[in-house]
């Protein structure tokens, strides 16, 4: 009897905890979406009417337009670079036997643990030495470095899960190294590359700390534009931007699911 009551209550408590965590995770997002359609600067809940005022404000301001374009450009280019670099690095780290490959891995993964401020300041100093302060090259380099750990990790996991006999089988059937890579290795790495693209895009689009240091007015990405905007004004324009971010993220995930399958992408556990 007592154990039954205990079981009931423990189940109830766990349910309560899960529900509140889920609520705390979703409520800010929902509030942001609501307030972006709110005509007044102060958030009314429930909203009295719906307006696209803040979206228009967004479209009218050139810094936001530029921010969107920059974010898209930097995101796509740094994602492409990081995927190419990630494939090459994963192959040489996992297959190679050269000394120092573990050190290289540790260095590439370091943005995960280093404070963004340090990387930002460092890159800014590098840029000032080479005369590229605020230029697109340094912004793209910065974003590539920041997303590479995620890309490398997901490609490495795919590579580790790959049966090494597959390439041997292809080799003995007459496939040279190039053909083995194209017909066997690359298709087998597809889930890892898909996950890498997803992570890289999301990380790049959201990257703030390092971008704050390396961007100039003409190369500002969206998070930096938002930051500068909130320094001057507080109104739901940022809510409108956030809503657009959410919609774009949903579309990106949907697209990737269509292309590679989200189930496959998220099955990232390593070989036991």
């Amino acid at each position: 009897m007592i154990s039954k009551i205990f079981r009931y209550w423990s189940r109830f408590t766990i349910g309560l905890i899960i529900c509140s965590i889920t609520l705390f995770l979703t409520i800010p997002t929902i509030l942001v979406v609501f307030s972006s359609f709110n005509p007044t600067s102060v958030l009314d809940f429930p909203p009295k009417s719906i307006s696209l005022r803040w979206y228009f404000n967004l479209g009218e301001r050139p810094d936001f337009r530029l921010g969107f374009i920059n974010t898209g450009l930097v995101g796509l280019i740094s994602t492409s670079f990081s995927i190419l670099a990630g494939i090459g690095m994963a192959l040489s780290i996992q297959r190679g036997s050269f000394p120092g490959r573990h050190a290289i891995y540790a260095v590439v993964m370091s943005p995960l643990v280093l404070p963004g401020v340090i990387i930002g300041v460092g890159l800014l100093m590098v840029a000032s030495k080479t005369g590229g302060v605020g230029g697109f090259p340094i912004v793209i380099v910065a974003h590539t470095l920041m997303v590479l750990p995620f890309v490398l990790r997901s490609i490495l996991i795919s590579l580790e899960n790959m049966d090494e006999n597959l390439e041997k089988a292809a080799a003995i059937l007459g496939a040279n190294p190039m053909k083995r890579f194209i017909y066997i290795t690359l298709p087998m790495l597809r889930p890892g590359i898909g996950a890498g693209i997803l992570f890289a895009l999301i990380m790049s689009v959201n990257e703030f700390t390092v971008s704050l240091f390396v961007t100039a007015r003409s190369t500002q990405t969206m998070p930096v534009v938002l930051f500068n905007y909130t320094m001057a004004y507080i109104d739901p324009t940022i809510a409108a931007v956030s809503t657009i971010y959410i919609v774009i993220t949903i579309i990106a995930i949907w697209l990737l699911d269509r292309l590679v399958g989200i189930a496959k992408i998220l099955r990232l556990e390593g070989k036991s």
């Binding site: 049966d163 006999n165 597959l166 041997k168 089988a169 292809a170 080799a171 003995i172 059937l173 007459g174 496939a175 040279n176 053909k179 017909y183 066997i184 298709p187 087998m188 597809r190």
Partner: protein
């Protein structure tokens, strides 16, 4: 077509290994191997795990670069030629089917790499699949196939390129018992009909003995003995081979007296004494010998004079159909296994009863 068991291959060499050595760090996985495999032969590399047999297969395939020595295939030194140019085929223990390709594309992969036209590929893939009795499976995916079917696809993928040499790594190990026996027969038949020189690696001595024309027994990277199954079984070269082939009653000892062809041997630190007949003078002091379990005779009364009369106690009886396997503990503590044929009537032997034994000196075989 080919009716005699032996005329399907000529003694012409197909694969030659010369002083082949592969070291990983300080460990010699393959150590100074010299071996010749004949054209059309079904050849087994037999050895316990870690004996280097898979590494040796990998050296023939070109997956590893040898530390020393040469690999010659069909008269050409291929040591420096990468595996994709060696014109071989291999079936892997886990089959290694390409999971992202259909059965058709798996089987056709080798032909596609050779740049053959599409219609030729289609025709040859269909032929190969019907050879392994998987006609109509072209559009399936590897993960939709059972283990046995996957193996057939792997075999078809290897055979379709008409390789000079077919390499099989533990071809039957991943199958369950019934399927294994079926595939064993089928494999042998396909090999006979195609006449492709085939080398297979196995740790299962019965598989090697029943399937191969000749076999090499490996231990610690070295080849211990190469011969036809029957010869190896009749004349194991040393205690390792004898034990590995599943011979029973293998003992080590040293001889203490010789009288003509008769040799007195002591084993178990002098606990047991045996008399063997061995015509060769050059028996080393330390020797290994075995007693065939089917040759040990159970007798009614112990004779006081003569050799190799022993008595002991039955510890275990296993009825195995036409014969029973009896484990006997001699008075000295040594265990002997003997096989007793059963001719219809049920055996009257029982555990813990005393038995007297006689072993003819010619059945104590010194190796």
């Amino acid at each position: 077509m080919k009716d005699s068991q032996f005329d399907f291959y000529s003694p012409e060499p197909m694969v030659g290994l010369l002083g082949l050595t592969k070291r990983f760090g300080s460990i010699s996985a393959v150590d100074q191997v010299d071996l010749e495999i004949r054209k059309g032969e079904l050849f087994a590399l037999l050895g316990p795990s870690g004996s280097g047999k898979t590494t040796l297969l990998g050296l023939i395939a070109g997956f590893h670069e040898p530390t020393a020595g040469k690999v010659v295939i069909n008269g050409i030194d291929v040591t420096a030629i990468p595996s994709y140019k060696r014109n071989l085929a291999m079936m892997f223990q886990n089959y290694a089917l390409f999971p992202h390709l259909s059965v058709f594309d798996n089987v056709g992969f080798g032909l596609r790499m050779r740049g053959l036209p599409r219609n030729v590929i289609r025709e040859r893939v269909h032929k190969a699949l019907s050879l392994v009795r998987l006609g109509g499976f072209e559009d399936r995916w590897p993960n939709q196939l059972s283990g046995g079917q996957q193996q057939r696809v792997a075999l078809a993928r290897a055979l379709v390129v008409e390789p000079k040499v077919l390499l099989l790594d533990e071809p039957l190990a991943a199958l369950d018992k019934g399927l294994r026996d079926e595939m064993r027969i089928e494999l042998k038949e396909i090999q006979r009909n195609s006449g492709i020189t085939t080398i297979f690696v196995t740790h299962d001595q019965s598989e090697a003995l029943s399937l191969s024309d000749r076999l090499a027994i490996m231990d610690q990277g070295k080849i211990v003995q190469v011969d036809a199954p029957r010869q190896i079984h009749a004349n194991p070269k040393n205690g390792f081979v004898a034990r590995f082939l599943g011979l029973r009653n293998v003992f080590s000892g040293k001889w203490i007296r010789k009288e003509g062809e008769l040799i007195w041997i002591e084993s178990g630190n002098g606990k047991d004494q045996w008399v063997a007949i061995h015509p060769d003078d050059r028996v080393s002091k330390e020797c290994t010998f075995y007693i065939r379990p089917e040759r040990i005779q159970i007798i009614d009364r112990l004779q006081k004079i003569g050799f190799n009369y022993l008595s002991g106690i039955i510890k275990e009886i296993n009825y195995l159909g036409t014969y029973s396997e009896i484990r006997i503990q001699l008075l000295s503590g040594t265990q002997l296994i003997l096989f007793e044929m059963m001719f219809g009537e049920p055996s009257s032997r029982s555990v813990d009863s005393k038995v007297n034994l006689y072993i003819d000196p010619k059945d104590v075989v010194i190796i």
